[in-house]
């Protein structure tokens, strides 16, 4: 067993925002750079690691536990692109059971069997579903699991609300040795005002943007092949973006406590942006008419 410290990172974000895509590309870029990486999907859909495995689903920790009471954690670990260890926590079907408890159970099983130490990992990256809706979804940011949290968000207000909720969770656990915020991965950044919105949110919550990731057809094409962009289009501009992101995450050391907006502040902030967006639209309409 090695004495080296495994860097544990949690990536949160609203469902459908590109969290698993981003996470898998970070994992792939880190593996490409020679690191030993585990990607741990914490979403009952259990599809976080698909693009690391040619589009293939793997049995989740909870699938195995529901089949038999006694599970060797090794059975839940599958090798993916670049030797990445892929694990899916899994969980119940929509509308039943408790997905939060599922995350607790799955993470606990791997910890108890000392898997992280045994595999001598450089990085464990948790890909965690959306809003921190209950105690279970906060497990990766509690003490002793991830040290750094990154959130994937677009400039969409619902995504920003989810990020703000996550910040509240981080604030809560920050006093007791929990994970701190590394920053925002700004996804689907295609226009200037997208950047302005997310920059403004980062400034208001006293955090930083780690990387702007543009929306790109390359990503979609790669995903349709069941691959990450790093694997399918390593020479593309988008792959460079992910590599730059992975490098920043690898070099990142000091995370901070964010200042989440309270409901009133968040309402006022989004209302302010709504007014500005209307103004931008009017201006472009006037310009069009004038032309």
């Amino acid at each position: 067993m090695s004495a080296k410290k495994t860097k544990q990172i949690a990536i949160y974000g609203k469902g459908g925002i590109g969290k698993s895509t981003t996470t898998s590309n970070i994992s792939a870029a880190l593996a490409d750079a020679g690191y030993k990486v585990m990607q741990f999907g914490c979403d009952p859909k259990a599809d976080s690691t698909n693009t690391l495995r040619g589009g293939e689903y793997i049995p989740s920790v909870l699938d195995l536990l529901s089949e038999k009471r006694r599970v060797d954690a090794h059975e839940a670990i599958f090798l993916g692109f670049g030797g990445i260890y892929c694990v899916e926590a899994g969980g119940p079907a929509p509308g039943v059971g408790c997905a939060g408890r599922g995350i607790i159970t799955a993470v606990e099983l791997l910890k108890q069997q000392r898997i992280f130490e045994e595999l001598d990992l450089d990085y464990v990256i948790y890909d965690v579903l959306g809003d921190v809706v209950c105690g279970g979804f906060a497990v990766p940011i509690r003490e002793g699991i991830a040290e750094h949290v990154f959130t994937v968000s677009s400039a969409d207000f619902m995504a920003i609300y989810a990020a703000n909720n996550l910040f509240k969770g981080i604030e809560k656990y920050s006093n007791s040795g929990g994970a701190l915020l590394g920053g925002i991965i700004a996804n689907s950044m295609n226009t200037d005002f997208h950047r302005e919105i997310i920059d403004d949110f980062a400034a208001r919550t006293k955090t930083q943007i780690v990387q702007y990731v543009p929306r790109s057809l390359t990503v979609t094409q790669a995903e349709l092949q069941g691959k990450t962009t790093i694997e399918a289009a390593p020479d593309s501009a988008q792959a460079d973006v992910y590599r730059a992101l992975a490098k920043r995450i690898a070099e990142h050391t000091d995370s901070k406590v964010p200042t989440a907006l309270n409901p009133k502040e968040l309402r006022e902030w989004s209302a302010g942006w709504a007014d500005q967006l209307i103004e931008i639209e009017r201006a472009s309409e006037r310009a069009r008419v004038a032309a």
Binding site: R70, D72, I104, K111, F137
Partner: protein
């Protein structure tokens, strides 16, 4: 697999040992053969080093049961200068009167001033389930400290807090820093393990992590940790004969006694179901040798147990002298008892390794034991030491048990089990099964005092008690004549106690 003290929650028995709760394939020898000790890893059994994999029956329902949390309640509230905080809805505290009875009885048995045990509940309500119960927990710990000024606080988690994901570990650490005494979270959600004995492991895990001294300054070469349950202290006088002192844990121990476990010369127990985790972890993490021997039941078991302690503490000579004295004292009495007990048939129903020991004692007394029910089965104990193969020892020393069953204390199955063997009497440890036996006209002997059948004197104790119990035979026959069982004729005619489980598979 090695014990892992780094995580706050203990690994369940099923995961560590491959524990099962339902098996009914025949003889004790067959179960011993299928277990880890004889089969070993790699023989088509579990993956990696997960040990053997026994075929387990799965019943479609459970009539009644217990859970790890209940065990933790009993264990934690029995630590003399600690307070238990149950972080749960109030229903989980329903067992407290029973715990308190046990606590008071044991104080009396041990000659201590009788008082009530100390426990509080966070009494979680709907609101707490929605918003989280951590603040209430911290407030309750502070209140426990203010009211009782304990040396430590133990928190028993519950199913409810496990599901909502309360961060009990952090909550405990924060209050610990504030009040300056150990606040030990014990993760014992009942849904995690199908057998309550995981509760023993859970509290021992907490004690090992937070109470036992990490760097003991000195070794106490004459101190032996004895992992006990509620029972008379037969150990102090026995060990005194060998020039040793008994550190009795956890039941009625003080925090100081728990702290000094790492200073002891060895750890030992009367029941490896109970002590498996503690003794293995003390050896692995603190270098305190685990005594690797059969349990102290019957002459051969007690001899081997004492000799193993003697070897670990360099007291062979004095031990041999003690063994010889005890044999000389006890054997003639046992001979007399054997005469009186001749031709009797007994049935044993209790926790696994304790049952293995009691069968040995009954056979030492010449009693036929054609059937035994154990409430679970561990195919191996944590250290994996073959000397601790209690079931193997039973079979090798005293012969096979024809009808050996693993079943989780189900009243409805107990009826069919007794029909198989028709014993003259029953030996149990848990009260729930004796009313059924009584209604069948069978007297039962309840070993509420866990020390009762132990060692050389235990053979005499058990023999004498069986004679006393058989004296009440008429009473039980009268009960049988004037009572009935609550089951349908179809079930009463059923020969197979696991008919429902087998039908569910078929």
């Amino acid at each position: 697999m090695a014990i892992n003290l780094r995580t706050a929650a203990v690994e369940t028995r099923e995961q560590r040992l491959g524990t099962i709760t339902a098996w009914d394939e025949g003889t004790a020898a067959k179960l011993a053969e299928q277990s880890e000790y004889s089969r070993g890893c790699g023989a088509g059994c579990g993956v990696g080093n997960k040990g053997s994999k026994l075929c387990e029956l799965e019943s479609p329902f459970t009539q009644g049961g217990s859970c790890a949390e209940q065990v933790v309640q009993g264990q934690a509230s029995g630590i003399l200068d600690a307070v238990l905080v149950q972080h749960s809805p109030i229903g989980c505290a329903a067992n407290q009167p029973m715990n308190n009875t046990n606590f008071r009885n044991t104080l009396a048995r041990r000659g201590m001033a009788v008082r009530n045990s100390l426990a509080l509940s966070t009494n979680l309500t709907e609101r707490d389930m929605v918003y989280g119960g951590v603040e209430k927990l911290q407030e309750t710990i502070r209140e426990a400290y203010r009211r009782h000024n304990p040396k430590a606080v133990f928190i028993a988690t519950s199913c409810a807090t496990g599901i909502i994901g309360d961060d009990v570990e952090t909550a405990a650490r924060e209050v610990q820093e504030e009040i300056g005494i150990p606040v030990v979270p014990v993760f014992c959600e009942g849904f995690k393990s199908k057998h309550w004995s995981t509760g023993f492991d859970a509290i021992q895990h907490g004690v090992l992590r937070q109470i036992v001294k990490k760097n003991p300054g000195k070794k106490q070469e004459d101190l032996v940790n004895i992992i006990i349950l509620s029972g008379t202290d037969v150990y102090t006088p026995m060990l005194a004969e060998l020039g040793l002192r008994a550190n009795l844990v956890l039941n009625l121990a003080t925090i100081e006694q728990l702290e000094q476990m790492s200073e002891a010369a060895a750890s030992v127990s009367f029941c490896y179901t109970l002590a498996s985790y503690f003794t293995a972890a003390l050896e692995q993490e603190f270098g305190v040798p685990e005594i690797k021997a059969p349990q102290p039941y019957g002459f051969a078991g007690t001899d081997a147990w004492l000799r193993a302690i003697a070897r670990a503490t360099n007291r062979e000579e004095v031990t041999e002298a003690y063994i010889a004295r005890e044999h000389a004292r006890v054997r003639p009495i046992v001979e007399e008892l054997r005469e009186q007990l001749k031709g009797l048939t007994g049935y044993v129903a209790m926790g696994a390794s304790f049952a293995h020991g009691v069968v040995v004692v009954l056979r030492e007394l010449g009693i036929d034991v054609p059937g035994t029910l154990v409430f679970h089965h561990d195919p191996v104990y944590d250290s994996g030491a073959p000397e601790r193969d209690t079931l193997g020892h039973l079979v090798e020393e005293t012969g096979d048990v024809e009808n050996f069953t693993v079943g989780i204390r189900q009243h409805y199955q107990f009826y069919n089990l007794l029909q198989r063997v028709n014993p003259d009497f029953i030996v149990i440890r848990h009260g729930g099964l004796s009313p059924l036996a009584s209604r069948l006209g069978k007297p039962s002997l309840q070993l509420g005092d866990a020390s009762f059948p132990l060692g050389y004197q235990g053979i005499i104790n058990l023999g004498a008690e069986i004679l006393a119990v058989l004296g009440q035979k008429k009473f039980h026959e009268d009960l049988a004549a004037h009572s009935s069982l609550p089951y349908r004729r179809s079930w009463l005619d059923e020969k197979d106690p696991f008919a429902l489980a087998r039908a569910a598979v078929a």
